[in-house]
Protein backbone atom coordinates (compact mmCIF):
# COMPACT_ATOMS: atom_id res chain seq x y z
CA UNK A 1 0.00 0.00 0.00
CA UNK A 2 2.85 2.34 0.76
CA UNK A 3 4.80 1.43 -2.33
CA UNK A 4 4.06 4.84 -3.80
CA UNK A 5 5.56 6.40 -0.72
CA UNK A 6 9.19 5.57 -1.37
CA UNK A 7 11.23 8.77 -1.54
CA UNK A 8 12.14 8.37 -5.21
CA UNK A 9 8.50 7.97 -6.26
CA UNK A 10 7.57 10.85 -4.00
CA UNK A 11 10.13 13.13 -5.65
CA UNK A 12 8.74 12.30 -9.09
CA UNK A 13 5.09 12.66 -8.12
CA UNK A 14 5.52 15.81 -6.03
CA UNK A 15 7.60 17.38 -8.78
CA UNK A 16 4.77 16.75 -11.24
CA UNK A 17 1.91 18.09 -9.12
CA UNK A 18 3.73 21.02 -7.48
CA UNK A 19 3.33 23.54 -10.33
CA UNK A 20 -0.41 22.85 -10.42
CA UNK A 21 -0.91 23.15 -6.67
CA UNK A 22 1.17 26.32 -6.52
CA UNK A 23 -0.63 27.78 -9.55
CA UNK A 24 -4.02 27.03 -8.00
CA UNK A 25 -2.90 28.67 -4.76
CA UNK A 26 -1.83 31.82 -6.59
CA UNK A 27 -5.08 32.01 -8.53
CA UNK A 28 -7.33 31.40 -5.50
CA UNK A 29 -5.43 33.93 -3.41
CA UNK A 30 -5.46 36.67 -6.03
CA UNK A 31 -9.20 36.35 -6.76
CA UNK A 32 -9.97 35.81 -3.06
CA UNK A 33 -7.98 38.87 -2.04
CA UNK A 34 -9.69 40.97 -4.70
CA UNK A 35 -13.15 39.91 -3.52
CA UNK A 36 -12.08 40.41 0.10
CA UNK A 37 -11.23 44.08 -0.34
CA UNK A 38 -14.12 44.83 -2.71
CA UNK A 39 -16.90 43.13 -0.69
CA UNK A 40 -19.31 45.70 0.76
CA UNK A 41 -18.84 46.63 4.42
CA UNK A 42 -21.00 44.59 6.80
CA UNK A 43 -24.04 46.45 8.13
CA UNK A 44 -23.05 45.74 11.72
CA UNK A 45 -19.29 45.24 11.62
CA UNK A 46 -18.46 47.76 8.89
CA UNK A 47 -15.11 47.19 7.21
CA UNK A 48 -13.77 45.19 10.14
CA UNK A 49 -15.57 42.19 8.64
CA UNK A 50 -12.75 42.01 6.09
CA UNK A 51 -10.50 40.64 8.82
CA UNK A 52 -12.65 37.50 8.66
CA UNK A 53 -11.25 36.69 5.20
CA UNK A 54 -7.72 36.34 6.53
CA UNK A 55 -8.57 35.20 10.07
CA UNK A 56 -10.98 32.31 9.52
CA UNK A 57 -8.98 30.50 6.77
CA UNK A 58 -5.80 30.84 8.87
CA UNK A 59 -7.61 29.22 11.81
CA UNK A 60 -8.95 26.43 9.59
CA UNK A 61 -5.53 25.65 8.15
CA UNK A 62 -3.94 25.69 11.60
CA UNK A 63 -6.26 22.90 12.65
CA UNK A 64 -6.08 21.05 9.35
CA UNK A 65 -2.27 21.14 9.51
CA UNK A 66 -2.36 19.69 13.01
CA UNK A 67 -4.78 16.98 11.89
CA UNK A 68 -2.43 16.17 9.01
CA UNK A 69 0.51 16.08 11.41
CA UNK A 70 -1.31 13.74 13.79
CA UNK A 71 -2.44 11.45 10.96
CA UNK A 72 1.04 11.28 9.41
CA UNK A 73 2.46 10.68 12.90
CA UNK A 74 0.09 7.75 13.41
CA UNK A 75 1.08 6.25 10.05
CA UNK A 76 4.74 6.82 10.92
CA UNK A 77 4.31 5.06 14.27
CA UNK A 78 2.39 2.10 12.92
CA UNK A 79 4.09 1.54 9.56
CA UNK A 80 7.51 2.89 10.54
CA UNK A 81 7.61 4.73 7.26
CA UNK A 82 10.18 7.56 7.13
CA UNK A 83 8.18 9.52 4.54
CA UNK A 84 5.25 9.73 6.98
CA UNK A 85 7.64 11.16 9.59
CA UNK A 86 8.84 13.73 7.07
CA UNK A 87 5.23 14.62 6.19
CA UNK A 88 4.44 15.20 9.85
CA UNK A 89 7.65 17.07 10.68
CA UNK A 90 7.44 19.47 7.74
CA UNK A 91 3.81 20.38 8.43
CA UNK A 92 4.65 21.74 11.89
CA UNK A 93 6.36 25.05 10.99
CA UNK A 94 3.58 25.82 8.50
CA UNK A 95 0.93 25.03 11.09
CA UNK A 96 2.74 27.29 13.52
CA UNK A 97 2.68 30.16 11.02
CA UNK A 98 -1.04 29.85 10.35
CA UNK A 99 -1.81 29.49 14.06
CA UNK A 100 0.15 32.67 14.81
CA UNK A 101 -1.61 34.48 11.95
CA UNK A 102 -5.02 33.33 13.21
CA UNK A 103 -4.21 34.55 16.73
CA UNK A 104 -2.85 37.92 15.60
CA UNK A 105 -5.60 38.70 13.08
CA UNK A 106 -8.17 37.49 15.59
CA UNK A 107 -6.90 39.84 18.22
CA UNK A 108 -6.91 42.70 15.67
CA UNK A 109 -10.56 41.83 15.04
CA UNK A 110 -11.37 41.46 18.73
CA UNK A 111 -10.22 44.94 19.66
CA UNK A 112 -12.82 46.86 17.58
CA UNK A 113 -15.58 44.23 17.97
CA UNK A 114 -15.23 43.12 21.59
CA UNK A 115 -13.22 46.05 22.94
CA UNK A 116 -10.25 43.83 23.82
CA UNK A 117 -7.29 42.23 22.02
CA UNK A 118 -7.40 39.14 24.17
CA UNK A 119 -9.73 37.29 26.49
CA UNK A 120 -9.14 33.95 28.20
CA UNK A 121 -12.24 32.28 26.84
CA UNK A 122 -12.31 28.61 25.85
CA UNK A 123 -11.84 29.16 22.11
CA UNK A 124 -8.93 31.56 22.41
CA UNK A 125 -7.24 29.61 25.19
CA UNK A 126 -7.48 26.25 23.40
CA UNK A 127 -6.17 27.94 20.25
CA UNK A 128 -3.20 29.35 22.13
CA UNK A 129 -2.57 25.82 23.39
CA UNK A 130 -2.46 24.70 19.73
CA UNK A 131 0.40 27.16 19.16
CA UNK A 132 2.30 25.73 22.14
CA UNK A 133 1.68 22.17 20.92
CA UNK A 134 3.36 23.11 17.64
CA UNK A 135 6.27 24.68 19.54
CA UNK A 136 6.60 21.60 21.74
CA UNK A 137 6.49 19.28 18.74
CA UNK A 138 9.27 21.16 16.92
CA UNK A 139 11.35 21.45 20.10
CA UNK A 140 11.12 17.68 20.58
CA UNK A 141 12.36 17.04 17.03
CA UNK A 142 15.30 19.35 17.67
CA UNK A 143 16.09 17.95 21.09
CA UNK A 144 16.60 14.32 20.05
CA UNK A 145 19.59 13.62 17.84
CA UNK A 146 18.57 10.22 16.51
CA UNK A 147 16.04 10.72 13.71
CA UNK A 148 14.00 7.58 14.34
CA UNK A 149 13.71 8.20 18.07
CA UNK A 150 12.90 11.88 17.52
CA UNK A 151 10.17 10.93 15.06
CA UNK A 152 8.64 8.49 17.51
CA UNK A 153 8.66 10.87 20.47
CA UNK A 154 7.30 13.75 18.40
CA UNK A 155 4.60 11.50 16.92
CA UNK A 156 3.37 10.55 20.38
CA UNK A 157 3.21 14.22 21.37
CA UNK A 158 1.32 15.04 18.16
CA UNK A 159 -1.22 12.28 18.85
CA UNK A 160 -1.75 13.25 22.49
CA UNK A 161 -2.14 16.90 21.47
CA UNK A 162 -4.75 15.96 18.86
CA UNK A 163 -7.23 15.83 21.76
CA UNK A 164 -7.13 19.62 21.60
CA UNK A 165 -8.64 19.69 18.08
CA UNK A 166 -12.22 18.75 19.04
CA UNK A 167 -11.86 20.98 22.10
CA UNK A 168 -11.10 23.96 19.82
CA UNK A 169 -13.88 23.00 17.42
CA UNK A 170 -16.62 22.58 20.02
CA UNK A 171 -15.35 25.09 22.60
CA UNK A 172 -17.89 27.62 21.38
CA UNK A 173 -20.72 25.14 22.07
CA UNK A 174 -19.45 23.59 25.30
CA UNK A 175 -18.60 26.80 27.08
CA UNK A 176 -19.95 30.29 26.95
CA UNK A 177 -17.33 32.14 24.95
CA UNK A 178 -16.87 35.69 23.78
CA UNK A 179 -15.80 34.17 20.48
CA UNK A 180 -18.87 33.66 18.29
CA UNK A 181 -20.31 30.23 17.62
CA UNK A 182 -20.19 28.25 14.40
CA UNK A 183 -21.66 30.38 11.63
CA UNK A 184 -20.57 28.62 8.43
CA UNK A 185 -20.80 24.82 8.70
CA UNK A 186 -24.34 24.56 10.05
CA UNK A 187 -27.24 22.16 9.55
CA UNK A 188 -29.50 25.00 8.44
CA UNK A 189 -26.90 26.56 6.16
CA UNK A 190 -24.44 29.34 6.84
CA UNK A 191 -25.41 32.50 8.70
CA UNK A 192 -23.24 34.57 6.41
CA UNK A 193 -24.38 36.30 3.20
CA UNK A 194 -22.99 34.90 -0.10
CA UNK A 195 -21.16 38.15 -0.79
CA UNK A 196 -18.96 37.32 2.22
CA UNK A 197 -18.96 33.55 1.73
CA UNK A 198 -17.33 33.71 -1.71
CA UNK A 199 -14.19 35.58 -0.69
CA UNK A 200 -14.04 33.43 2.45
CA UNK A 201 -14.12 30.15 0.53
CA UNK A 202 -11.69 31.37 -2.12
CA UNK A 203 -9.25 32.47 0.55
CA UNK A 204 -9.71 29.14 2.33
CA UNK A 205 -9.03 27.30 -0.95
CA UNK A 206 -5.99 29.55 -1.48
CA UNK A 207 -4.64 28.89 2.02
CA UNK A 208 -5.19 25.14 1.67
CA UNK A 209 -3.42 24.85 -1.69
CA UNK A 210 -0.65 27.16 -0.47
CA UNK A 211 -0.18 24.95 2.58
CA UNK A 212 0.16 21.83 0.46
CA UNK A 213 2.45 23.52 -2.07
CA UNK A 214 4.78 24.67 0.72
CA UNK A 215 4.52 21.29 2.44
CA UNK A 216 5.59 19.47 -0.73
CA UNK A 217 8.58 21.78 -1.20
CA UNK A 218 9.55 21.34 2.46
CA UNK A 219 9.27 17.55 2.21
CA UNK A 220 11.40 17.58 -0.94
CA UNK A 221 13.96 19.72 0.87
CA UNK A 222 14.09 17.29 3.79
CA UNK A 223 14.49 14.28 1.49
CA UNK A 224 17.39 15.98 -0.33
CA UNK A 225 18.95 16.89 3.04
CA UNK A 226 18.66 13.29 4.24
CA UNK A 227 20.28 12.06 1.06
CA UNK A 228 23.13 14.50 1.66
CA UNK A 229 23.56 13.25 5.22
CA UNK A 230 23.68 9.67 4.00
CA UNK A 231 26.36 10.58 1.45
CA UNK A 232 28.45 12.27 4.15
CA UNK A 233 28.12 9.24 6.42
CA UNK A 234 29.18 6.93 3.61
CA UNK A 235 32.16 9.16 2.81
CA UNK A 236 33.21 9.16 6.48
CA UNK A 237 32.74 5.44 6.92
Amino acid sequence: MFGWANPKRFMELSGAVLPWVAGAAGLFLIVGLYLSVTAPPDYQQGDSVRIMFVHVPAAWISMMAYGWMALASAIGLINRHPLADVAAKEAAPLGTLFTALALITGSLWGRPMWGTYWVWDARLTSFLLLLFLYFGYMALWNAIEDETRAARAAAILALVGAVNLPIIEFSVDWWSTLHQGESIVRVNGPLIAPVFLWPLFLMAAGYTTLFFALLLVRMRTEILARRSRTLILQADG
Binding site: L97, P112, V217, L224, S228
Partner: protein, 53 residues
Protein backbone atom coordinates in the same frame (compact mmCIF):
# COMPACT_ATOMS: atom_id res chain seq x y z
CA UNK B 1 -15.19 53.90 -4.50
CA UNK B 2 -11.41 53.65 -4.49
CA UNK B 3 -11.25 56.08 -1.61
CA UNK B 4 -13.67 54.01 0.46
CA UNK B 5 -11.64 50.92 -0.40
CA UNK B 6 -8.45 52.25 1.08
CA UNK B 7 -9.96 54.11 3.99
CA UNK B 8 -11.65 51.03 5.44
CA UNK B 9 -13.81 53.39 7.44
CA UNK B 10 -12.89 53.75 11.08
CA UNK B 11 -11.49 50.23 11.18
CA UNK B 12 -8.48 50.95 8.96
CA UNK B 13 -6.15 50.71 11.95
CA UNK B 14 -7.19 47.07 12.40
CA UNK B 15 -7.96 45.85 8.89
CA UNK B 16 -4.67 46.92 7.27
CA UNK B 17 -2.38 45.51 9.96
CA UNK B 18 -4.30 42.20 9.79
CA UNK B 19 -3.79 42.02 6.01
CA UNK B 20 -0.23 43.32 6.26
CA UNK B 21 0.87 40.76 8.85
CA UNK B 22 -0.80 37.98 6.87
CA UNK B 23 0.95 38.99 3.65
CA UNK B 24 4.34 39.41 5.31
CA UNK B 25 4.00 36.09 7.15
CA UNK B 26 3.05 34.18 4.01
CA UNK B 27 5.68 35.93 1.86
CA UNK B 28 8.40 35.05 4.40
CA UNK B 29 7.23 31.43 4.53
CA UNK B 30 7.41 31.17 0.73
CA UNK B 31 10.83 32.86 0.60
CA UNK B 32 12.37 30.72 3.37
CA UNK B 33 10.90 27.52 1.96
CA UNK B 34 12.26 28.15 -1.53
CA UNK B 35 15.66 29.26 -0.24
CA UNK B 36 16.02 26.12 1.88
CA UNK B 37 15.03 23.98 -1.09
CA UNK B 38 17.56 25.60 -3.41
CA UNK B 39 20.30 25.21 -0.80
CA UNK B 40 19.51 21.55 -0.17
CA UNK B 41 19.55 20.89 -3.90
CA UNK B 42 22.88 22.65 -4.40
CA UNK B 43 24.45 20.87 -1.43
CA UNK B 44 23.38 17.45 -2.62
CA UNK B 45 24.60 18.21 -6.15
CA UNK B 46 28.04 19.23 -4.90
CA UNK B 47 28.23 16.19 -2.62
CA UNK B 48 27.38 13.93 -5.54
CA UNK B 49 30.09 15.63 -7.57
CA UNK B 50 32.46 14.83 -4.75
CA UNK B 51 33.54 18.43 -4.33
CA UNK B 52 32.84 18.54 -0.59
CA UNK B 53 33.34 15.66 1.76
Amino acid sequence: MAEALFEMGRYAAFVWPAYGITLVGIACAIAFTLRAYRRAKKRLASLEDGRIR
